[in-house]
Assembly symmetry: D2
Homo-oligomer: 342 residues x 4
């Protein structure tokens, strides 16, 4: 059994990690920490876990994380870069669900995240944990930077196009819509039910932190700089991201077939039949990305639809997928739950 | 492997049965029928099942249900009473998720359901499938009448009180609130998003079909007639029932302890600590009933809160639990998923 | 034109007061205060008011409220009792939308609200602003205590029964459900979209602050103490309260007719035809209470359904109604908007 | 008083027309028809209108619509083209809220709507009722084709850009999101609460009926053909459309100022400050379009955000605005309600 620790377990990615790891056949969760809620039984904060999770939140200072095989950081940005190096030096492998190690260009990271990076040396060693791109390097990674939710949906949606280079890489557009759990379990007015319900809005149009992450990923796939307009929106769902992607065709091709081939051996990416419209609920609570390829009226604009559950394939599920790869397990272990519909 | 058939798989209880049975380690779903959608792949109608369910809906006439060990009826009221007897006579065991066999008094059933009963002889042989009451008889049942959603939440909530007789059995009140999936996957104006969202209402106050079912169950527990006021409401959730139950104390007792003892060995009933407020989402997508016991200000009125997921413990999950009992499996087989929260 | 001031305009009752008062033909809103947001244009915080409200939030210390004819307090509990007396002494009339002056028994108030009352002398002079009960005294009131949202729905629902005394006053039950805006525009985890959406729960069952307010009101109507079990619930709507009320009949009567007569001349109370089920959306954004009277199966338990919009008849609308009465305007001035449906 | 008739009043645009017209100071609604519900009081179907609307639905055959000054058709596509000509010939002015007269090219209309047009001669005489474009011709129109909901949001959003021609007119993109009331009050599975709630999806990507309407409008503004990719989505709101529009800059300009000037004298179009993010709820229940102009990171892609309430500025409100213009009333008469927020 893999001994697992979780740092920062009181947010939505924390409780989702617990849901997945507790049901994982090869894992033993031995510690979960929370500075503010140390001593509280996990099942008191999250009654959905009553009778199944008997852990208490521990103070990060006293928790014995160094005996773990792997530690997940489900903390706000800026925490893992402070605390992970000590664990890494002790031989513990780390999967960071926050953004600390996602952007290779440290100056760029510091600009978007508004803080000084505490361990740039580990940025260089970290592997970006998008298995469909980096499976081989994830296997041996000591530190995995788990991708953001929008970046997962957008990169998986654009990947086959960007890899082949058949579209205009200077004018990619990602119009993305996220459920409210993407904002986390923080007490903020803008995430209140009475603000976010029965309402729809864009946000961060001048610039969103996931933009450099997506741009970095797509540029690597393309082997060249890409230019992307990224517009995130808030939609009244709890879970789910729907990315609607636009690209102008430069070289004609059978794009449906291109996608099907690219993802033929991926367990967690489903290329739907032509003209499909994937719904976010079709992946609710499951580690899946469903994609549909459209070319309306045979014009020169492709429309790619890509959906994930932001807490699963966009966070905790992908982190577990990375863990499975790192420890040589079957990639689907503990991740084979069917989506919950309706 | 138990060979399972499903009659009427295009509704919400049908797709939920599939979700649970496909992930059940001891089951092989061999046939699923739908008169209107015969020939359609199940995963075309329910994309959440893509890649995991390869069955097509079959016409009930041609489906080879008689080779099944057990057949679930997830059909509208009035179908199973027509079709189940032939299967039963062929030795197939049947679990009916509709109301056809729930009410022992056939005349009473006919009054509430507005049709003539087609097989009263099987009503007499059917076992009411509330495992917490009838586990022993379910084991050998040929035909199980799976309880309704409201009746499950209300009976489990009242049971310890009614069994002991410490409350006024002439003035029980059940104020119950249901998510909209309880109305099924039928195209009706009243279930439209624009009607049911951002809205709350009572319905069926003059009389609801689940009233005689609950009254029958409580009367059996009490060994005497009980009088119940039952008011169902529609609340804008997809899944979930919250029953708020009121009873007047006649004999004093430690009611918290009474509940804890009654349900101590039940895997799927969770008596929460005193003064708890169970939330419907704490059982979302799981086969669980959580109950809290209150006696506000120490007065003579008890308030019992009981929550279930209407599609799981209130329908498909309970049906699988009954199947597990009937076939000698562990009662929790295939039903041990954690609730999905948030 | 009546010169109006608003203290504490950044919450939901504040913005709702603005919506109603700006459209009121006899009113001029001259000042609105907010300690934290002084200097911010109101329409920056609430873009729904762009182009129509040109006020800025002012600091309460510098706002010239004493020149107003009437000042509304849309502040948290405990503020009006500090600040209103100075205005009252200056001859300004005051309508407090919080709870400071609702409970006549100051010791009882202090117990439930957990603070020492700052102006018990004004509690004695305040008029409880439920027009259907106290219209005559509201007319000359200097200080009106605007009722709470639950108390409005529950008192209007029970009033005809309690006044006539035909029911058991020792066992009244109010099972009430509120939309999330009732919790205010405060950044709290429990009011987040991802917590409150697709979820239903009771809260405050051991004791809620509106209980003593309702009990006081019903006892006055009855001319005797009444005993009430009050269970509030949170339901995923923005606006709306649905109270389901239970009472045991002691003296038979035509209860439908009793309600119709009691409210025949009330502009804002609609007694629906027998067997109706009022929906919260049928009063959305309007100053209305709709009531339906049921006696299921002719038994001895009455079921009364009462719905309001908690922000209108349960707060800002009722406050404007009180203002209309205090200043001799037509009671419906500025309050005649039709509900918004769907 | 203008005598108004409504044909087809049982849908959402019908009840919204009633809400607006009943509160309009210059209008008298004299008849409302419904084939299926003739004889039913309007307030029985829509309890929100109880006490305020005393009309019954009349059979279209017997309703005396010819004495009306203006008749609104709130009917499914294909009805007004059958029934309006007779009224028009009798001198009644007509505003059609459906699509029958929106597309000048009858062959194109027949292709998209799948039926033969019954009165192509009236198509030629109809005026497209987007006041911000056609105010002068609307004034004298006998027949107004009220724009679709998506077309209103998209055209108002693109208009200043397309008129000036500073962007690439061959690659416009409109990514639009609509609340569920846009699908009407029809009993369809896809509009059920349990299908549409907690879910997000695109639909009609291969081709949606509003595409030719938008293309026609934009082409007229541009004086040349434009090419548009239009992707509609369904989002779990009742009311609201959010259009996110993308255009590539060809000629540099101060686009914020361009928009502000274009709409400076429009009462119902609000150009927000630069970098704003309009929310659908900021126009809920009001006849408003709010627009924000973005140029992320100073690149060559403009992002325009445009929001309306689909039932008001996208349907009934715009129809009343057209009526006001046709009858020489102030354009804001009866349309000056503030949005309902929260």
């Amino acid at each position: 059994m893999i001994k697992v620790g979780i740092v920062g377990g009181t947010g939505y990615t924390g409780v989702e990690l617990l849901r997945l790891l507790v049901q994982h056949p090869g894992v033993d969760v031995v510690a979960i920490t929370s500075r503010g809620d140390a001593g509280t039984p996990v099942a008191t904060m999250f009654p959905s876990l009553r009778g199944r999770v008997h852990l208490k939140f521990e103070d990060p200072a006293s928790a014995n994380l160094k005996t773990c095989d792997v530690v997940f950081f489900a903390t706000p940005n800026g925490v893992a870069m402070q605390q992970a190096p000590e664990l890494l030096d002790a031989g513990v492998r780390v999967i960071d669900l926050a953004a600390d190690f996602r952007i290779t260009d440290v100056a760029e990271w510091e600009k978007w995240y508004g803080m000084r990076h505490a361990s740039p040396e580990w940025v260089a060693k970290a592997v970006y944990g998008l298995p469909e791109v980096n499976r081989a390097t994830i296997r041996d990674a000591r530190l995995v930077a788990n991708p953001g939710c929008y970046p997962t949906a957008v990169q998986l949606g654009f990947m086959p196009l960007v890899e082949c280079g058949f579209v205009d890489l200077d004018h990619l557009i990602a119009d993305a819509k996220s459920g409210v759990s993407g904002a986390g379990r923080k007490a903020e007015v803008s995430s209140l039910f009475s603000e976010a319900s029965d309402n729809f809005k864009a946000y961060g149009v001048p610039g969103h932190r996931h933009l450099p992450e997506i741009r970095q990923g797509l540029s690597r796939m393309a082997g060249d700089a890409v230019a992307l307009t990224f517009v995130p929106h808030l939609t009244p769902l709890i879970r789910g991201i729907h990315a609607t992607l636009y690209a102008q065709v430069k070289v004609d091709a059978d794009f449906q077939s291109l996608y099907e081939k690219r993802y033929a051996s991926e367990a967690f990416v489903d290329v739907m039949p032509a003209k499909s419209h994937p719904e976010t609920r079709s992946v609710r609570a499951a580690n899946l990305c469903r994609i549909a390829v459209h070319r309306p009226q045979g014009g020169d604009t492709l429309v790619i639809l890509s959906v994930i559950d932001n807490l699963v394939k966009g966070a905790a599920g992908q982190a577990v997928q990375n863990m499975n790869i790192m420890f040589g397990l079957s990639e689907t272990d503990g991740l084979w739950q069917l989506p919950v519909l309706p």
